[in-house]
Symmetry: C2
């Protein structure tokens, strides 16, 4: 069977071989031993636990090694954080990161290792932070996933990575590792997950043995078998959900390696970008700001919020934005496609109905200074008023600071705004390409 | 008192003097006698009745003389119409007109005379056509309006004429003569009507002795004292209603002759029109069609319907129309002010959500030929599509016949469309001036 062979071929590439396994296992052993040694000397009662895809044996290279340091429930939160970071720093050197609470990330034998403090709890009802759930997830998958299904999870992860929907982090808003495992548990194997996905629609609701009772407004709901009040797919965006459905359809119709390993793709060339924009007759706008010094998980939500702020400023200024995206590199670029970046000076301004008493105030205000006298239309006062910012660049340059931006962008460091033909420079190439290139990862 | 003197002055100008009264009375006598002579010879039992403002002595020059020929209720409708027109034609020569049913209009001694066939009914519950009510209106006003109030009605009519809200006909959609009489009966005199109007708001409801029970969605409701199921102000547009309120406010603040007799006003000059448009940066469009051979009462509703058809075509084509008007002269001109008359070729075209089964059809259709590949946005398929008509003139020239136009305009005889600077010709001057000149009649 043709599809078996391609999936086998992919599996041969992604399944860790013996030497890789040995490297991972030894690294895990080494770090856990080091943590235990530190604990021994400190008099703390901390359990050290390997969790995540390495513990579950569902990882594909290169995995994050997640090691949890489980503190007694009686430990005050502040102390847990302080002690946890201290231990992590001693073992890994590494840098401090934040998820819901801080942890230490380091590199050991070329592998990423996260040392995360959490509470040792008896069940999830006693949970005090999101990470407390992870050991239960690990335990659940280890005890439910069959040996053969582990490879099916690997295939699904690689497929999702290939099409660009793998990872619950803010940059992707896709499927988490745990969600891929639950999907394989729910449907049996890789292909069955894809076949099921072609039948999904918005708000498809899944569970294993038991359905939860909470309602979620999400494209996909998967009740967490270890905590029925939680939707495992809560971070999944509608677009990643839809993209997975579409990729499943197309893969099942014609399986190709590119779904797992897309070809590297050059950004569109500047002449191509220019030709496309000119054919469309629309107006490009590029807004650039310095990249704030933040980790990805903190940066991307702020980038998105800032883009929303830019869009709402433009829309409030009567500009129609057809499409928009962002591109983060050395700095942050927001690429926008407007129906027009220049509007007529005149705009219709509606006042109160004539029969309202304070309508006289509108008349007073607009007796002079408008581009027409006040006049009546459908019983209301109207006037042709002068637009404050008929140009998009002018509006953005002057009023962006009044928009709701991500906190890292509020100072608008390094702000520059370009519009029309002035955007066609090499430094804007990747941002413009991100805007215009609508090829999916698996497409040529 | 200053205001008394101006109102007295106006009254001196508009109140018919003795020689004018004699002319009117003699004309009435002459026509009624002629009708009676015709009836005598015919063996018909028809009563001849003077109705309207001449009968009520509330007219201002030059009045329409309304003479009703009241047929027995037993007369079949067809016969009433045939006989009525025949009689009218014999007496007046004149031309046939339609209100709800046909009548004859002619000119006698330089005065307009309407000869209208109707049914002689005992009360309004037996009414068979709208004109059957008129004799009751005439009778009601004659028996209720005091001698002094007749002049107050004359002032109110002249005021409304001056500001442009007098007449229930389609061209104006203003206050009928009967409504002005009821307003004077309701409030006492001319100034009291204006003072009351400054306190009106949308859906103000008035009546004399008794309120009707029917609800009307009208800016003004005045229950007809001779038929409580009818709103006398049903033809009044919101704009005429609002304009009367505003004129009342301003007149009471500073009475001036111009409210009754506005100065004749030249249309804006072409350089002035051009200067205004250029200052605004908006795009003018002129659509012209031949004027259908119809009476005003039939023409104007069709003109309005046609303007609506033009607007809906433009809006459907993504053009934003800021303002519009029409001007009927030798032909019919529609003057429009657009945000822009040229749009970019590209437009965002939304398809179905990805998870809908038939979304594949959208993909098939747009796989090629669009200005982008199909892509996913908020779970929906989208594509940058090519706009069929990026130019307003092109859209109007090509698709106006598919719009809902007034019947007299459906053949689009003599259609011409101009946009941008090509509209600035002397033949468009009056139409453009009607669009741009927002001065109220009483303003300088």
């Amino acid at each position: 069977m043709c599809h078996m062979s391609i999936e086998q071929e992919i599996l041969d590439r992604i399944k860790p071989d013996n030497s890789y396994r040995t490297l991972v296992d030894e690294t895990v052993f080494q770090v856990m031993e080091a943590v235990r040694r530190e604990i021994e000397g400190s008099g703390l009662e901390i359990e050290v636990l390997l969790v995540g895809s390495v513990a579950k044996d569902t990882y594909i290279p290169a995995p994050d090694i997640d090691i949890f340091m489980m503190f007694p429930e009686t430990t005050p939160r502040k102390e847990l954080e302080r002690r946890g970071l201290e231990l992590g720093r001693k073992v890994l050197g590494g840098e401090e990161r934040y998820a819901e609470h801080p942890y230490i990330r380091g590199l050991v034998n070329g592998l990423g290792v996260d040392l995360v403090p959490c509470y040792a709890i008896a069940d999830t009802s006693r949970m005090r932070s999101a990470v407390d759930r992870t050991p239960f997830h690990t335990e659940f998958v280890k005890s439910h996933l069959s040996e053969g299904q582990k490879d099916q999870v690997r295939l699904l992860k690689r497929f999702m990575k290939g099409i660009g929907v793998y990872g619950a982090e803010a940059r992707v808003e896709g499927f988490s590792g745990y969600l891929t495992e639950l999907l394989v548990l729910r449907y049996g194997d890789f292909r069955s997950v894809l076949e099921a996905a072609t039948q999904w629609s918005y708000a498809t609701t899944l569970y294993l043995e038991q359905r939860g009772e909470t309602d979620f407004d999400s494209p996909l709901v998967f009740y967490d078998p270890v905590d029925l009040d939680r939707n495992v797919a809560s971070a999944l965006s509608t677009d990643c959900f839809a993209l997975f459905i579409q990729a499943s359809r197309e893969y099942l119709e014609r399986e190709r390696e590119e779904f797992f390993f897309p070809r590297t793709r050059e950004p569109l060339s500047m002449p191509e970008i220019r030709r496309m924009m000119e054919e469309r007759g629309t107006s490009p706008v590029i807004v650039r700001m310095a990249r704030p010094g933040l980790t990805d998980d903190n940066l991307f939500p702020q980038v998105k919020k800032t883009l929303e702020g830019i869009l709402s400023l433009l829309r409030g200024g009567d500009f129609e934005v057809l499409d928009s995206t962002w591109y983060v590199d050395d700095d942050t670029a927001f690429a926008l496609e407007l129906k027009a970046h220049r509007l007529p000076v005149a705009m219709m301004h509606a006042g109160p109905p004539v029969w309202i008493e304070h309508s006289e105030r509108f008349l007073e205000k607009w007796r002079t200074g408008g581009l027409s006298r006040p006049f009546i239309r459908n019983g209301r006062w109207m006037v042709m008023a002068r637009r404050e910012h008929p140009d998009a660049k002018e509006l953005l340059s002057s009023d962006l600071d009044q928009s709701s931006l991500g906190s890292g962008f509020r100072k608008m460091e390094g702000l520059s705004v370009q519009e029309g033909i002035e955007v066609f420079t090499e430094s804007n190439r990747r941002a413009l390409s991100a805007l215009l290139d609508k090829r999916k990862n698996w497409e040529v």
